[in-house]
Subunit: 340 residues, 2 copies
């Protein structure tokens, strides 16, 4: 272990995005006098009459949800992207814009209003994984769609407006900024090294071990060396797989196990239903081979030191670079100790 | 006015960073069922015995603040960057890190605990501007410092832990991510066009007018075409100036006037002390000419449609691109109508 990284201010390079994060380990002792977040640990009923995601209830557009038993997918009633949207371009000097088309969906993970992924058994999470695969495939086959972003916002502090367990998919014609960066970095690495960037990265991590939280036959869960959020983690397949369609039969349950392990450990950390945004970055569906891609799922949780104190990405972070106090190695140890 | 931009999903290109923002105008009607922010409009006393920024009070490290009358600067007691920090490098396969040195300061804008910039007269804000100039110059002359980031976090929702009017400066050896992007884009434009990117941009905006909020002889305040935050704005000098050291005599008061105008209009928008992070991007202090730089001050306010409903940059925004519903043109009109 490099102790300089635990003691002195430094920046770490994110090999996946080509950007830096500032780490200030000595600052972890700073007292907090700012805003406290509300904690909502109320026990929810299994079915809530007023929830527009519960089975049998009516949504805002008048549609009635089916009496679903596991996973339920529908097109977002307030979709940010639509396929029927007009095509146009603006190229007026320094004012540059392009129309963007797409399809936005909502995925209910379970009919049980009271649950989150952390409360679900791996075999039930596996049904969500299989749905992600189906949606990625179907959406990707649409000629209008070249990228499929699967994500979840969990918790009110993450802008989630309904506690019913659910995630979203926004799929669109062009690559979003974050995907574009990772596409570039992985492509450059693959061309130079004839190997997957993330495969080589996790080989290194599996030897050093200090940032590893959990592994099974097919997946590793770790705090990346360049993590931005205090308890950020990443689930990476051990094999070089470009998208979740490469997941082989028994591996979907192993992926579900990895999701179960990390979300359960998170809930234990501050004894609260742990908020986060999670997302899967994977190969664009633009018809190219995209062999340079190695898919992965990331968790960006905002909590810093308790259920009520979060890290604010403001000021310096907005105008400069992301910044963290607690090191990725300490965060990894804290989460690892809660596994199992 | 291009009406397609008001009606259909599209992405806009940020010529300063080279990145895109997704705009979904039709989505502005989405009802909000999520978290509401706390509003704190309590009237504060002019002096608060428990405030570590008020004149005469003792700070956490035992130092006593002087009996200051206008602006007061000191080194951050919990500095994320320090000059005494050890130098080292990590170059271990895909684990790449570099030590980072710097100086962090806190600037109290006024001894009056009850005020914010929005409540201060331009002649008092001018004293803050003159302090920014002095600090930028002095810090920039330190051979360890190659970039000086001036910023303010205002409001608890922006991670500000003390309502006393104050901002910060984090200065460091290398360019932070956001500055690096703007450096590159402005350099490329300057080399190709032999002109300042922002000067040409504001010329275009001053003709179109729909995104302009205010102008005086020396400055223009506008919602940039590529604004991310609902009511994001930018103050740009009309002349090509690389840093705030280029501000000429009478212009410092005109800059202060621009700050007063926009912060006052913000406070009127939702009848609340309007939270934001603001920051000045300007030429690095690395000893190069940096003629491609055109300094500017940006405001990133999170509120979306009332004092309690903010825009969450989560999920899609974290994994994809920033996204907004209300268009920059509508936001500009709303703020412009409150000026004066
Ligand atoms: O320095 P402060 O005010 O204690 O802290 C605040 O501003 C910093 C710089 O933008 C951020 O890193 C912190 O997350 C935020 O809470
Ligand atoms: O789509 P929702 O859940 O209504 O909205 C939430 O997720 C979106 C996608 O991450 C964000 O753009 C919104 O700011 C957030 O409140």
């Amino acid at each position: 272990m490099n102790t300089d990284l635990q003691d002195y201010s430094h920046k770490r390079f994110n090999v996946l995005t080509g950007e830096w994060v500032l780490v200030s380990p000595h600052r972890a002792k700073r007292p907090w006098q700012g805003q406290n977040e509300a904690v909502n640990n109320e026990v929810r009923p299994s079915h809530d009459k007023s929830c527009y995601l519960c089975a049998g209830n009516t949504r805002i557009n008048g549609e009635i949800n089916p009496d679903y038993k596991d996973v339920f997918v529908f097109t977002n009633d307030f979709a940010a992207l639509q396929t029927s949207s007009k095509s146009f371009n603006v190229n007026d000097g320094l004012l540059i814009a392009q129309s963007e088309q797409g399809i936005c969906k909502v995925i209910c993970f379970s009919p049980d209003h009271s649950k989150s992924l952390a409360d679900m058994a791996p075999k039930d999470i596996e049904k969500v994984v299989l749905t992600w695969q189906k949606e990625y495939k179907e959406l990707g086959e649409n000629p209008l769609i070249n990228y499929v972003q699967i994500f979840e916002n969990k918790g009110a502090v993450m802008g989630c407006s309904n506690p019913h367990p659910h995630g979203q998919i926004w799929s669109q014609s062009t690559l979003p900024n974050e995907v574009y960066k990772k596409d570039l970095q992985q492509r450059n690495y693959f061309e130079t090294n004839k190997a997957s960037l993330l495969k080589n990265y996790i080989s290194q991590e599996l030897i050093q071990k200090e940032r590893i939280i959990f592994e099974n036959e097919a997946f590793v869960v770790l705090v990346p060396f360049w993590a931005i959020w205090p308890f950020e983690t990443m689930i990476v397949p051990k094999k070089h797989q470009t998208s979740i369609l490469d997941i082989e039969n028994t591996e979907s349950l192993l992926f579900a196990e990895a999701i179960a392990v990390i979300t359960k450990a998170y809930d234990k950390l501050f004894n609260t239903s742990f908020p986060y945004s999670s997302g899967i970055h994977q190969a664009p569906t633009n018809g190219e081979a995209n062999s340079h891609w190695h898919w992965h799922m990331s968790f960006y949780p905002p909590l810093l030191r308790s259920a009520t104190v979060k890290k604010f990405m403001v000021g310096y972070e907005m105008f400069g670079s992301p910044q963290r106090d607690i090191t990725p190695e300490i965060a990894a140890k804290m989460v690892r100790d809660l596994v199992g």
